[in-house]
């Protein structure tokens, strides 16, 4: 049954991708891309990657769709016909594709437990991590502890990307007069948003602190919390949202998260362990691991939240300024 669902979902994904390639209306392209993200999240669930599915649903269908729509409002929604010849690109793509398909025939068959990918470090993660780290969710153990260095780098990349966007577009100014914006005239939206925004934030906190035991963690929680404020900004207008969560605060939070993460590493340094070796953080190694993971997941959550929201602020303020002019 799972194979059949897999077959069907991947087929739908391929059709959606074709739609994206051939449509000229960019609004439709962005919406299809949102569907594409949802479908891939479903595929990830079906392939047992629940944490990944969680992230993809929040990021792909939520944040990136909003960012792309913001860009479209500034650049126009129609793709113009081009004088491009399509024959050469098609030839290149078909040749590359054929070579890759030929290459897949040498790959180990899908789902076979004997595949090389399952023989190396994965065995240790699956067999030893519940005792060594003391967490049922192996993905969190690997993400935060075994490969903590990696995750520190990725958090820093998210931080750097936020800095990049802010230096390209700039944050909204706080002191400008509040202008009529958002969807305030829509009563239903306003009421529904007021009810669900607190629930979304509560859910984000649950995902943040329950990520050790179930699917979730700092990355997902940060994105979900940012989505709550983005919804608020969309419904009640950007000026009000920037009063609730101030852009200056976000800048400080984005840096604070990375510092908290790296600081945990430095703390384990001074307590006699290696960088990001949480065993020394408490008297008992397993308790130390747990403490370290909670701290660094919190750092990740704060940075991702602040980075995503400030990126949204940057795009939204540009789009809003254009609409006023």
């Amino acid at each position: 049954m799972a194979e059949l669902i897999n077959l069907l979902l991947l087929g739908m994904l391929a059709v959606t991708a074709l739609g994206v390639v051939f449509l000229k209306d960019l609004f439709a392209v962005v919406m299809l891309f949102g569907i594409y993200s949802f479908l891939s999240a479903l595929i990830f669930v079906n392939l047992d990657a629940v944490d990944v599915a969680f992230t993809e649903a929040a990021v792909g269908a939520g944040i990136s769709t909003v960012l792309m729509l913001g860009t479209l409002s500034l650049t126009g929604r129609q793709e113009k016909m081009s004088g491009h010849k399509t024959l050469l690109p098609l030839l290149v793509v078909v040749t590359t594709g054929a070579a890759l398909i030929y290459g897949t025939l040498d790959m180990p068959p899908f789902g076979n437990p004997e595949n090389p990918v399952h023989q190396h470090v994965a065995l240790r993660y699956i067999q030893d991590s519940p005792q060594e780290i003391g967490l049922p969710n192996m993905v969190t153990s690997v993400l935060a502890s075994y490969r903590g260095f990696d995750t520190l780098g990725e958090t820093a990349v998210v931080f750097a990307a936020a800095i990049g966007v802010l230096s390209l577009l700039g944050l909204p100014k706080q002191d400008r007069a509040a202008i009529e914006s958002g969807l305030e005239s829509h009563l239903v939206l306003k009421v529904v948003a007021k009810i669900i925004i607190p629930l979304i934030i509560l859910f984000a906190l649950y995902v943040q602190f329950h990520g050790d035991y179930g699917p979730g963690g700092g990355f997902q929680a940060g994105v979900i919390a940012a989505a709550a404020i983005i919804l608020y900004a969309l419904v009640f207008g950007l000026p009000l949202a920037t009063q609730v969560v101030q852009p200056g605060l976000l800048k400080a939070l984005a840096a604070l998260g990375v510092l908290l993460y790296a600081g945990t590493g430095v703390a384990s340094f001074f307590l006699g362990g290696n960088f990001l070796d949480y065993n020394v953080l408490a008297a008992d190694p397993v308790a130390g691991q747990h403490l370290g993971i909670i701290l660094i997941e919190l750092g990740v959550g704060i940075t991702v939240f602040a980075a995503m929201l400030s990126i949204f602020y940057a795009f939204a303020s540009k789009a809003e300024r254009k609409n006023i002019q």
Binding site: V20, A49, L72, I101, V117, I126, P136, A162, G164, V165
Partner: protein, 118 residues
């Protein structure tokens, strides 16, 4: 039949990858190129997650009565890659916005004679 079940995921991945690749090189509009890059990226995600799947396995969260788990390592790599991916996409889109402001267009074939504007 078994050949299809064994390699179906990888073939769809290749198809998606090529659809994204085609959009990147053939599309005229910069926003659409970024969507193409994102499709390319997602196809790589699916490739990794497909390789991590074990038939009959379960999600890698310890639970009673379950002995086979899928490989958690690809999940970790891709989870972080998704969030980094949206952050870098945002940088790309911000560049598109700036290009629109500097050149007045985001259509590739309209740039040609505007190179010396800035």
């Amino acid at each position: 039949m078994s050949v299809i079940v064994d390699y179906y995921n990888y073939w769809v991945v290749v198809f998606l990858m090529m659809a994204g690749f085609y959009t990147v090189i053939a599309a005229n509009n910069l926003v659409k190129k970024i969507v193409g890059l994102n499709i390319f990226q997602t196809s790589v995600f699916i490739l990794y997650i497909s390789m991590g799947k074990v038939s009959g396995g379960s999600a890698p969260i310890v639970a009673e009565g379950i002995t086979t788990y899928s490989n958690p390592l690809p999940h970790v790599l891709i989870l972080t890659a998704i969030v980094v991916g949206v952050a870098t996409t945002a940088v790309g889109l911000a560049l598109v916005v700036r290009i629109k402001r500097a050149y007045g267009t985001v259509e590739e074939n309209e740039f040609k004679d505007k190179d010396d504007l800035i």
